[in-house]
Symmetry: C2
Subunit: 221 residues, 2 copies
DNA sequence: GGTGAAAGACATACAGTGTAAGCAATAGCT
DNA sequence: AGCTATTGCTTACACTGTATGTCTTTCACC
């Protein structure tokens, strides 16, 4: 009598379930017991496939890093960087728990390593020295993670910036916080939309980097 | 008989103790019970002075934000921004738990509001439009937080980069991760120090912003 | 087909978490 | 002096990650 065997528990299945659970109910809701329950299993059974909860978190990070489109070394570096940065942001916005995990632990999964290698390679092949490549990579990543975290943790939906600004305006007296008061007024009355678009800072950095290689390329050497 | 009255519990004292405890033993060690114990009091007594643990965390953030030196509107904006960015980084490195908290919650304490107001004002008075001011502020902050978080969570001390790179090199085969392999080799043999200095990315952004105002200042208007 | 071994799922238990509810003692004010 | 509000303490609950030990199922080999 072939009872309906449910597919066996594997590390892959556990990690996918963890990502799904965190996507749906938030990282706080991801406990070993709940994760096990979502797989119709007891909590301790998970420990046959992952070493502990940190291992789960690491695996989750590497899994979603796999969703980021990698740049291709040798290509047009600026466009490549734009694509990979935007993709990284999109992926982390799609998995709101991800950015926090990425910055709060170091991940050395295969996806992460490949992602970093492609990024370094793209910059290096574009003519940056190794020191510049290392720092440029870091600067761009800092911006990506910083931007994503700030956007995600801002509790107001962009569609409600105007009404929220109007609501909070009384808490920002003009004599005490003149500039915030001014800015909030403009957001409230629609003069300024208050959005922080990703490309502003990204292009700032990319343009500055471009000038860096260009100045050397046009120089004596 | 005047028994040695210990100073009364106040919100201020609780928050200061929380900061001290987190500084010394890490944010994970900050439980309500331990926090209470450090004040020679029981856990539930704290709830007469703070509403819950989140309130404690918010208070801690605002307290250390008070340590950041604010820029002064009307001053030389680039230098002012450099000082405030560097100061913010220093403060957050001195309180390793702070960056994570700052980005994972929105804080509306008086110190935070004043800090933001000063930053916005400095940019605005420098000739940036409100839209530019808002986005420039955001871009710089993204970099500050991103940089601090990445630096803090990197598990290797800069003094040990070379030896660590040598150790991990076998895990980065040249055929699979050519660029990481190359970079790690250079760090291992001392050709490249592997440090990500804060000013690199910061000056990238500040220079780009400067070009933004300069181009308008030198234009028709 | 029978047998030994390994793997995986489970049950129990422990120390720790945030905090709700109720009680006791103190302090300040009239 | 007596009332009231504040503050601290005790107990309790639901929940966390995971160490430990046991039981069942599966698989390789003769």
């Amino acid at each position: 009598m072939p009872q309906p065997r449910r597919s066996p528990l594997t590390r892959e299945r556990v990690l996918r379930a963890a990502v799904r659970l965190a996507d749906k109910h938030g990282l706080d809701a991801l406990s070993m017991r709940r994760l096990a329950a979502s797989l119709k299993v007891e909590a301790m059974s998970l420990y046959n496939h992952v070493t502990n909860k940190d291992d789960v978190l690491d695996g989750m990070v590497d899994q979603i890093v796999g969703e980021i489109t990698r740049p291709t070394p040798g290509g047009a570096w600026k466009a490549e960087m734009r694509v990979r940065a935007t993709s990284a942001r999109d992926v982390m916005l799609a998995h709101p728990w991800a950015a926090m995990l990425v910055v709060s632990r170091i991940s050395v999964g295969p996806n992460m390593l490949g992602y970093i290698d492609a990024t370094l390679g793209t910059l290096r092949e574009a003519g940056f020295t190794w020191a510049e490549t290392d720092r440029a990579w870091n600067a761009i990543d800092c911006y990506i993670y910083g931007y994503t975290l700030q956007l995600q943790n801002f509790p107001i939906d962009p569609a409600e910036y105007a009404s929220a600004a109007a609501e909070y305006l009384p808490m920002l007296p003009a004599d005490q916080y003149p500039y915030m008061h001014d800015l909030s007024s403009r957001v409230a009355n629609g003069t300024h939309d208050g959005t922080h678009d990703f490309s502003f800072g990204l292009e700032l950095i990319l343009d500055a980097l471009e000038r860096m290689v260009a100045s050397r390329g046009g120089g004596s050497q």
